[in-house]
Amino acid sequence: MNLKSNHTINEYDLIQGSINGDRQIQELLYHRFSPKMYAVCLRYSGNADDAHDLLQEGFIKVFKNLVKFRGDGSFEGWIRRIFVNTSIEHFRKKVNMYAVTETQEVTIEDKELNVLDNLAEKDIIAMIHQLSPGYRAVFNLHVIEGYSHKEIADMLGINEGTSKSQLARAKAVLRKMVENRLNITSNTKEI
């Protein structure tokens, strides 16, 4: 049986088989969700090696806690939450975010990041990797996952104001990166 291309098995059987410890079914589940989850890990980590570690740790957690999945929401959403939480745990172990005062927040201009829409995903990931861990975490949680600043503050153990200012700074840094990239491209064309 070609496991990697087999997507005929339904989600319920995938879950039950994995809970029962069927290694083939578990592998199927892995192949179905690992590309998306690896992209999540890449976004939150600073490099591919860390992302690989997160991927393995996340899937071990998924298989260990699969019996707790009650089917309230989507299964992919449940798995994604495990990966996001695993990434945040790593972030909290490694980084201490510094507090940003209110006066600093006011001076930061928060513009939309439409410039990123024109870039390929791979390029965006490469730019996100260049952000500091704090900026990266807040940017991913708010812009990509859609968490509110209050939720982010609870998850990261920071206050809401810090989350907002970190996001604004992250956006400013990314915009600068895009501008630099566009300048380089136009200069190359002129030459």
């Binding site: 290694r23 592998e27 590309p35 690896y38 990123l116 995903e121 990931i125």
Partner: protein
């Protein structure tokens, strides 16, 4: 053009080859380490729960059984009745017109001292006396003590009747409405008034 959120949310990257093998090996290790402990724990807790349930069931039966036996021993024990200050044993007979006070302890006839059995279990003591028609009537030990100690003259039944007549007269003459709760209060109040009236 897709928005940044949609684009990045659904972005997929094929993980490096060999990732699954690492995860599978880790899962094998987790299973081999965790399962035996879980089984042992489950058996241990089940045994503990079974022992606790057995203990509770035996305790309930034991105390219920001993309680019943003690109660029976109170009712069926040798009857003692007082006759002009002399105590002698006899059997329950409706026609002999005497109040029988049960003996709960061979060494001690004091009723108040026998409120608890040897096991410490509280017993409700009732004493069977002969009613007016010879039928057995259960009364509390307090009432029995009152009747026996109220007058040493024989037969105590007369004393009892005169006592009841006296109480009836008090109740008739009184403005207060007698209830089970205030009955003795009314009697005591009337007696006190009689004593204190010059």
């Amino acid at each position: 053009m897709k928005s940044l959120k949609d684009k990045m949310y659904n972005y997929q990257v094929t993980p490096p080859s060999g990732s699954w093998q690492t995860i599978a090996t880790a899962l094998d290790e987790v299973n081999s380490n965790v399962q035996p402990i879980k089984k042992t724990n489950r058996i241990f807790y089940l045994s503990l729960a079974a022992a606790a349930v057995t203990f509770i069931i035996f305790s309930v039966f034991w105390f219920n059984d001993s309680g019943k036996k003690t109660n029976e021993s109170v009712v069926k024990s040798t009857k003692i009745y007082r006759d002009s200050g002399n105590t002698k044993s006899g059997n329950l007979n409706g026609s002999d017109n005497k109040i029988k006070v049960p003996e709960t302890n061979g060494d001690d006839n004091n009723l108040a001292a026998n409120k608890k059995s040897k096991s410490g279990y509280d017993i409700k003591k009732y004493i069977t006396i002969s009613g007016p028609g010879g039928q057995p009537v259960k009364i509390s030990e307090k009432v029995a003590s009152l009747i026996v100690s109220s007058d040493d003259k024989y037969p105590p039944n007369t004393v009892w009747n005169s006592k009841v007549n006296e109480w009836r007269a008090i109740m008739k003459a009184n403005n207060l409405t007698p209830t089970t709760a205030n009955f003795l209060d009314i009697v005591e109040l009337t007696n006190a008034l009689k004593i204190n009236t010059p």
